[in-house]
């Protein structure tokens, strides 16, 4: 028997102390938008309700107060403290699971300036509701990433147990429990920032990119053959685009280069294999539009 998967809400973690950054990470701005707002708006495109997870003493903070909040449960925090666990993100996740016991949570840390629709789509479409959580493997150390993950209702008692044993680390929880782990398609999406130097580097990397929440731009490489090569005046290029699919990308390039072939006469390949026109493109994809062939 298969139970229906729980509905998913979003939870943006913004309760951290930002001690290494020496200023509130949630309020850091990228292109005039607070980091918390950017992540909140992006998650809101994927799930029906989104909340910001905060500590009791943060509820009046102006960056957070204009969003729906889930405040860390004082009871849970006291229980955890009594067992020697100091709280942290697990308290926020447990508080959300307690507030809506039938809901699964797309939990996302607010300090992910490169978070993308690609990453959230992958997490939600490849989610396994039969496990306690679905999470990405870190591209840096290969371990699970707890702070961009779907946490299922069934994780609540196991998380309580984890903290009763004095454990605080959500990553160790994922390592030691039955969870689904994914290789991220967007390998940069979970790069977080903790220091002023990392913030400066992220600002630089996002320079010249327009981070609209629904369509984070990405870099693609494109190869041109035959008539398209001649009309584009080049055999390959890399470009930044907000095109979500090969169909969108062809429309964009047709406008730029005046391609005469209608899309209906073409096929498309992504990463050297035939692909659907509606496939979701991800950063780093290599695209070839295939004019009518004439081998033999």
């Amino acid at each position: 028997m298969t139970l229906a998967a729980a509905q998913v809400y979003g939870l943006i973690l913004a309760g951290g102390s930002s001690s290494r950054m020496q200023r509130d990470k949630a309020a850091l701005e990228y292109r005039g938008q607070a980091q918390l707002d950017r992540v909140f708006d992006l998650v809101a495109l994927h799930v029906p309700r989104v909340f910001v997870s905060v500590r009791e003493d943060q509820t009046r903070d102006p960056t957070r107060a204009r969003r729906p909040l889930i405040v860390d449960s004082a009871v849970l925090a006291q229980d955890a403290a009594a067992a020697g666990a100091t709280g942290g993100p697990i308290i926020g996740i447990r508080s959300a699971l307690g507030a809506f016991p039938d809901v699964a949570w797309l939990v996302v840390a607010c300090d992910l300036p490169f978070l993308s629709a690609t990453a959230l789509n992958q997490l939600l479409t490849q989610r396994d509701p039969g496990r306690l959580a679905t999470a990405f493997l870190s591209t840096h150390d290969g371990l699970p990433e707890p702070l961009c993950a779907v946490w299922e209702p069934a994780a609540a008692p196991a998380l309580a147990e984890h903290q009763r044993a004095g454990r605080n680390c959500p990553r160790k929880f994922l390592i030691n429990h039955p969870v689904k782990l994914l290789e991220p398609e967007d390998r940069r999406a979970l790069d977080n920032i903790n220091t002023p130097a990392e913030y400066a580097a992220a600002l630089g990397a996002l320079q010249g990119i327009d981070p609209g929440p629904g369509a984070p731009p990405m870099q693609l490489s494109i190869q041109y053959f035959a008539l398209l090569r001649e009309q584009a005046g080049r055999s390959h290029e890399t470009l930044e685009t907000a095109a979500a699919t090969p169909a969108d990308l062809y429309a964009e390039l047709q406008h730029r280069y005046g391609f005469t072939l209608p899309r209906e006469q073409l096929k498309v390949a992504v990463n050297s294999d035939f692909a659907d026109w509606s496939r979701r493109l991800v950063a780093g994809d290599s695209i070839v539009f295939i004019p009518p062939v004439a081998g033999g």
Binding site: F225, A269, S272, P291, V293, A294, G295
Partner: protein, 158 residues
Amino acid sequence: MRFRFAETAIDTSAARREVLDSGAGGYVSFEGWVRDHNEGREVTRLEYEAFQALAVKEGDRIVAEALARFPIKHALCIHRVGSLDLTAMAVWVGVSAAHRGEAFAACRFIIDEVKHRLPIWKKEHYRSGDSGWVNCEHCAAAPGHTDHTHHTHHTDHA
């Protein structure tokens, strides 16, 4: 590797040796040649261009399909890229089998699928001095494996 590209003239005697088999009683090969006319225009040479990364994968799949579909021993296809003069060989297919019927059928299957599926393009250069990419829509339609009378190509397998 059951499909490959050649940058220079295809060595058919070497290719033929690759499909030899002591259990084969028959061998069928097909050669596609550059022809001097197409759709009423005088052609002087052809330029072939391919998206090789995908074409090699898809070509291997075609030959694998032939091996699964017909009781044959070996099959190989080699396609040219670059500039080809009249009478030059553009494509070669070789098939060995216990009996001739399967060898003929598999050879026909491979060349038809290759023409239809591989990302290969050709540009015709005309006697009049201009040129054009061959965009023949009936090639992009699914090939029937029985009726090919509608094909009008440069090479002699039309």
